[in-house]
């Protein structure tokens, strides 16, 4: 059971609107970035940065993670850390799986079975 004072609630409401404005502006920026005359990697990095900022804003202020205990914040951050780790684990194989699929031909599946 928690009780919030009217002043706290009014402060939070103002912050929600500020976050909403930021999220809208950042979404607009994302739509603009894809038309910039930059390399694909540069655009990709900018988009990841913008999306990460938006996700952090939602987690910190809408999900109130900024007001929670540090341990809870670590619980919430664990999936993000593990996903980054997973991406690095996959780095050596990047593209290999795709090449296997894209080079597979229908003839390969209809080839005669190997002799026993």
């Amino acid at each position: 059971m928690t009780t919030h004072t009217p002043a706290q609630i009014a402060h939070e409401k103002r912050r929600y609107i500020q976050v909403f404005v930021w999220l809208t502006v950042l979404t607009g920026l994302e739509l603009g970035v894809i038309y910039l005359p930059l390399t694909k990697i540069a655009i990709g990095l900018m988009l990841i940065l913008l999306a990460g900022t938006k996700a952090a804003l939602v987690a910190a202020f809408f999900m109130h993670l900024a007001n929670e205990t540090r341990t809870l914040a670590w619980i919430a951050a664990t999936p993000a850390i593990l996903c980054v780790f997973l991406v690095f684990m996959l780095l050596p194989d990047l593209g290999a799986i795709t090449r296997v699929f894209s080079q597979a031909t229908p003839q390969a599946s209809s080839a005669p079975p190997p002799p026993h």
């Binding site: 059971m1 928690t2 009780t3 919030h4 009217p6 609630i9 939070e12 409401k13 929600y16 609107i17 909403f20 999220l23 809208t24 979404t27 994302e30 739509l31 970035v33 894809i34 655009i43 990709g44 988009l47 990841i48 913008l50 999306a51 938006k54 996700a55 939602v58 987690a59 809408f62 999900m63 929670e68 205990t69 341990t71 809870l72 619980i75 919430a76 664990t78 999936p79 993000a80 593990l82 996903c83 997973l86 991406v87 996959l90 194989d93 990047l94 593209g95 290999a96 799986i97 795709t98 090449r99 699929f101 894209s102």
Partner: protein, 253 residues
């Protein structure tokens, strides 16, 4: 024997969660969301692994069109704002505000699903499918998995609205009403393939939820007891957060 000693004697858990003093339910929701985030993380990592180095991968912006999806993103951001407003309203003891903002959030989620059904119809009729290529497989699995979460969120928030106005029976009634209404709205939108239907059918669903909620009595939330609303809000914001990432990785990059 004191209460604490009695509790220790029978092995009862402490009443207060050390991480979320408001309730154990809130900690449970955070742990669920962390696990769910890893599911999405795995899907997004698989998407990246399949896409990287594939020269035949289509340009998503050309293939999918981003105007409609940008609108859907904006809609989910707006629904997150209405959700926090609903929570702020009940913290002030404002039941009318809670009901109004929860309905707006449910409506936003429903419209998102209607627009997704409209988008899927066009992509499927243009030849895309889950079995056609890696692009189709990853696109439909990622957006479909997220869509299931939005559907779950619409039903969950409707149940919370039902509990806010009619207790446990109200939660069951409004949850069922929203589930059936949302499925119908998706079905009608997909088969009509018209954008206005994708907007109006979910609004009609929300209107039915509103009308049914008007018949209920005996709500349970107050300015002091609103943990369930906060826990439901956590789920809804998570759905919004995941869409922000899906929108960037699948549609923009």
């Amino acid at each position: 024997m004191s209460h604490a000693a009695a509790a220790e004697h029978v092995g009862v858990e402490p009443a207060e969660s050390p991480l979320t003093p408001e309730s154990w339910g809130k900690l449970g929701m955070w742990i669920f969301l962390a696990a769910d985030a890893m599911s999405f993380g795995g899907l997004l990592a698989a998407y990246g692994a399949l896409r990287y180095g594939d020269p035949t991968w289509p340009n998503p912006a050309h293939e999918l069109g981003i105007q409609l999806t940008a609108l859907m993103t904006f809609l989910l951001i707006c629904s997150s704002v209405t959700m926090v407003e609903a929570l702020a309203a009940i913290r002030e003891g404002n039941h009318t505000g809670l009901r109004k903002f929860l309905l707006l959030t449910i409506c936003g989620g429903g419209i998102f699903l209607g627009l997704q059904a409209y988008e899927w119809h066009h992509l499927i009729h243009e030849g895309q499918s889950i079995t056609k290529n890696n692009f189709g497989a990853t696109f439909f699995i990622l957006t479909g998995f997220h869509g299931c979460h939005v559907f779950g969120g619409v039903v969950y928030l409707s149940a919370i609205l039902g509990r806010a106005v009619g207790g446990r029976a109200g939660a069951l009634l409004l949850g069922l009403t929203a589930a059936i209404g949302t499925v119908l709205a998706i079905y009608v939108t997909y088969n009509s393939a018209m954008l206005p239907v994708g907007l109006l059918a979910p609004i009609a669903m929300a209107a039915v939820v509103f009308l049914v909620s008007g018949t209920l009595k005996g709500g349970v939330y107050s300015a002091h007891e609103n943990n369930e609303v906060e826990i439901g809000a956590l789920y809804w914001h998570f759905v919004d957060l995941i869409w922000i990432l899906v929108f960037t990785f699948v549609y923009l990059i």
